[in-house]
Symmetry: C2
Subunit: 257 residues, 2 copies
Amino acid sequence: MALLVKHLHAFVTESKLTKEEWMKGLEFLTQSAAITDSERNEFSLLSDILGISSIVDVVSQPVGGTSSSVLGPFHSHDSRLQPNGVDLTGDQPGDRTWLHGYVLDQEGHAIENAEIDFWQNADNGLYPAQDSAQDPHNLRCKIKCAADGSFNLLTIRPHPYTVPTDGPVGALLAASNRSIWRPAHYHVIVSAPGYIGLVTELFPQESDYIDNDTVFGVREGLIVPFVKSSNVEIANRYDLDAPFYEVKFDFKLVKQT
Amino acid sequence: MALLVKHLHAFVTESKLTKEEWMKGLEFLTQSAAITDSERNEFSLLSDILGISSIVDVVSQPVGGTSSSVLGPFHSHDSRLQPNGVDLTGDQPGDRTWLHGYVLDQEGHAIENAEIDFWQNADNGLYPAQDSAQDPHNLRCKIKCAADGSFNLLTIRPHPYTVPTDGPVGALLAASNRSIWRPAHYHVIVSAPGYIGLVTELFPQESDYIDNDTVFGVREGLIVPFVKSSNVEIANRYDLDAPFYEVKFDFKLVKQT
């Protein structure tokens, strides 16, 4: 609290904040309060677009593992455990993408009993929570990795989307002439007994807005190529027309101390 | 906005804020949102007890006039214009206090057409907005000063009171082992055409909590003695038993540029 007060006072002093500006700030918080409920939290969004969520993420990042990134508002705790290799695509549109890799320790050895919690948006850019036409479990799952630390699943390419803009935060972004877009990304939480949990995202390198994420979630080590693949075994396994896309990513976890 | 972001990021970095602490902060704002409405603003109170309102006041203070102080949540715009010299006390309990002085420019000359907007709490420590037993206009008024800049009124001694403690801000003060009290004070807004308006407070020097105002409103130049007086003219004018209390204070306004 003492540090918070010190830095907020430094902000007021350096900016020579006027009473009118202070009053506008209070009005902003009051308007944010008015549209915040159990389904929507404008303060969380504010934290995101000011980069607070991201800097908290950066300073709490353990040394030596895969970069973490922001959790975002669309994580659900009730994703179903699916078999390693699950096909999440069904008959929905979207570029088929085989995501695979290993969960490793800092020395590059496989971690046993690791678990992946995965979620993303659909081909229309929306998460199930934003789109009643989708099954609530669409494009999300948990997977227990194999004994050698490997995981894989079939999904689709994710898409850029905008943060909600109908509240005070949207007005703030507009007034600041700032982008409202996030680049495309997969959300992944990786956990394993004895290791520090990892909340992160993977970003397609060719995605729009990769250099201008409005919530500042992109880290260099999390940008991945979507490689065209004609791997016959995978094409046969999922009954895919080649080429499809392939994304390989190994997650490195840091031991709890 | 850029400075706000810079200083909030510096806070996170210097405090090495954990995700758990960040989450608690978001919960705090969400709880504050839940009890904020048109009658009560927990964010305004938060600004007060973190000293934000006060530091905004200090940095926006024009040089050369009477110190300003915080507005507080109990100002009403509809106070009635009363004759200079008004008796606000009626038959309510409280130490009768004759408040008088001049509204002056920086050179000490009288300002013509100055107006005083005055409000305070009652002998039970409550403002009318907190106490349905009081007339909504109890112990508040506007006064047009005389041509020589003088004003005077009869009121009672104000009393210390606590900020509202039934919300998240109260919990924060308790967790921080901080006082919930404000020292006694009169609220005064002084305005005059061509001069910068002054929002300020006057604090009885013997008040409890004068060195520990939970909203940091006390300024050295605003602490005033409550002097015992036997002035016969004033005693007769208001039908007072001597001694009563007398507070003399001259307000200095700064010219608009």
